[in-house]
Amino acid sequence: MNQSHWWSLFLQGDKHAFSEIFLACHDNLFRYGMKLTRDPELINDCIQNLFLKLWKNRNNLKPVQDITPYLFKSLRHHIIDILELERQTLPIDQDIEELLMVEYTAEDFMISRQVEKETQDKIIQLLNQLTPRQRHAIYLRYFEEMEFETIAQILDMRVQSVRNLISRGLLLMRN
């Protein structure tokens, strides 16, 4: 699955390559979107609109090495745009990021013998007390298994900031 190859073909107007990209990325994008807003219809629309926009603007796009962070970032922006539209009465100082509420539930984790269920549940609770950004970054790191560079791209942050964000988040969680 050479995604950057498909991407180049897509830029040239290859509909088949475009479909392949969609199929390969859809599920992860959907999962990611659901983690941010938990509205399946909204996410579905966002993904379709995102791809439609990509198709329409393909002549203005550049070849990309790794399309996953590009798509995740685009989706995130798309969702933010829609939320901004919907919440016209957002208080001025509230960061739109605050609305991207990554919430962890028991269903996000398997039960293993390594961690007692009780401990795990407590940790899940603690995770949800982190800032939205920390939760977001942790999701990308541990659920999407992304490199720090990739996460930095998606969140528009510096790599070191991402590392700090995650590590402090992890250390903040105390019983």
Partner: protein, 357 residues
């Protein structure tokens, strides 16, 4: 990695070795970290929590999603296939008698060489998206523009028009022949640009003919008033009224290929025969055989050759309103004009019957 005094636990817990320690996959890492705990007993609890957190995160699972990507993809591709420019709903190709879908192509274009030819004539280009309708030989088409104006386009003609008209003027580009029934819009003239003339109207019904092979451009008014301007020459613009036809005779001065010596003449006509094509009526009113044959070639998409030079100047009048075939028309012409025709390969050859003396 050596266990020296790292103060930044934060950085450490992100490290590979810590992950291996948590997962118990690397004995070396396990040893290092146990050492670290021994050196920093006060941070033991902190580390244990971190271990549990990472173990939990290690249990992360990708949840099933409740969306069907294949269905989503089909919807998307369908939308892309059907994607038309804005206000495509104002384009309607009516009257199926006329319109054979396979034969007429509707293109969305940016700039083309024909377009560039008009650039210098100050046509409002801006960022309007344009459509082009190309009508092949033997076909006709009818469209409605975004302002509600009706256009009938004759065989072997092309019309370029904006998908959505702009604010100030309504410009279209014609090659060939078309009949326009323009909706009046206050302050917005409608301009038909052809190779040699510009026809300005406010709200009128008129016919413009300027085929690439023709030396002249003819504009005929049925209703209202139009202003005909010579694009190349210094001719003053002429305004013509119903039942009048303005003919621009394009004369190129031999030595100077870019100079034109044009004349616009106006004469009274009966528009009926000249615009009847739009109503599917093939009408000849005293036309020379030379012109008649050209008209028939375009109408039927056939090649016709006149074998006798005498025949070329003969005149003919007739009306064909029942979608007659070319042969039916020729048979009808035979009744009043002594001709005989034969088909050789894909050309119809018409010759005069020699009267026996």
């Amino acid at each position: 990695m050596k266990t020296t005094d790292f103060n930044d636990l934060g950085e450490l817990i992100l490290s590979e070795s810590f992950r291996e320690f948590v997962e118990g996959t690397n004995p070396e890492s396990i040893r290092i970290w146990n050492e670290w705990i021994a050196f920093h007993p006060e941070r033991k609890d902190e580390l244990e929590t971190a271990v549990n957190v990472l173990k939990t995160l290690g249990n992360s699972r990708k949840r099933e999603i409740i969306a069907d990507k294949n269905e989503s993809l089909s919807k998307l591709m369908k939308f892309i296939e059907e994607e038309k420019p804005k206000s495509a709903k104002t384009i309607s190709l009516i009257n199926s008698i006329w319109f054979k879908i396979a034969a007429v192509s509707l293109l969305v274009i940016g700039l083309s060489s024909l377009w560039n030819m008009f650039r210098s004539h100050n046509i409002q280009v801006r960022e309007l998206a344009y459509n082009e309708i190309i009508v092949p030989l033997g076909e006709k088409a009818q469209i409605i523009l975004s302002d509600g104006s009706h256009v009938w386009i004759n065989s072997a003609s092309k019309l370029k028009y904006p998908v959505m008209f702009g604010e100030t003027s309504r410009d279209v580009i014609l090659e060939g022949e078309a009949f326009f029934d323009v909706v009046k819009k206050d302050g917005q003239t409608f301009v038909v640009n052809t190779r040699d003339v510009k026809v300005n109207v406010l709200g009128t019904a008129f016919n413009v003919k300027c085929y690439p092979g023709d030396e002249k451009t003819q504009t005929i008014v049925v209703r209202g008033e139009v202003k005909v301007e010579d694009i190349h020459g210094d001719q003053k613009a002429i305004i013509i009224k119903p039942n009048e036809m303005a003919t621009l005779q394009n004369k190129i001065i031999p030595e100077q290929t870019t100079a034109h010596l044009n004349s616009i003449t106006v004469r009274k006509v009966d528009p009926e025969s000249l615009v009847s094509w739009k109503d599917q009526m093939l009408v000849f009113s005293g036309e020379s055989f030379e012109d008649l044959v050209i008209k028939m070639e375009r109408w039927f998409n056939v090649r016709i050759k006149i074998d006798d030079t005498e025949l070329k100047t003969e005149r003919y009048s007739g009306k064909f309103v029942h979608n007659e075939t070319v042969y039916q028309v020729l048979e009808a012409i035979k009744i009043t004009t002594p001709i005989v025709y034969k088909v050789e390969k894909d050309t119809i050859i018409i010759s005069k019957i020699q009267r026996k003396k």
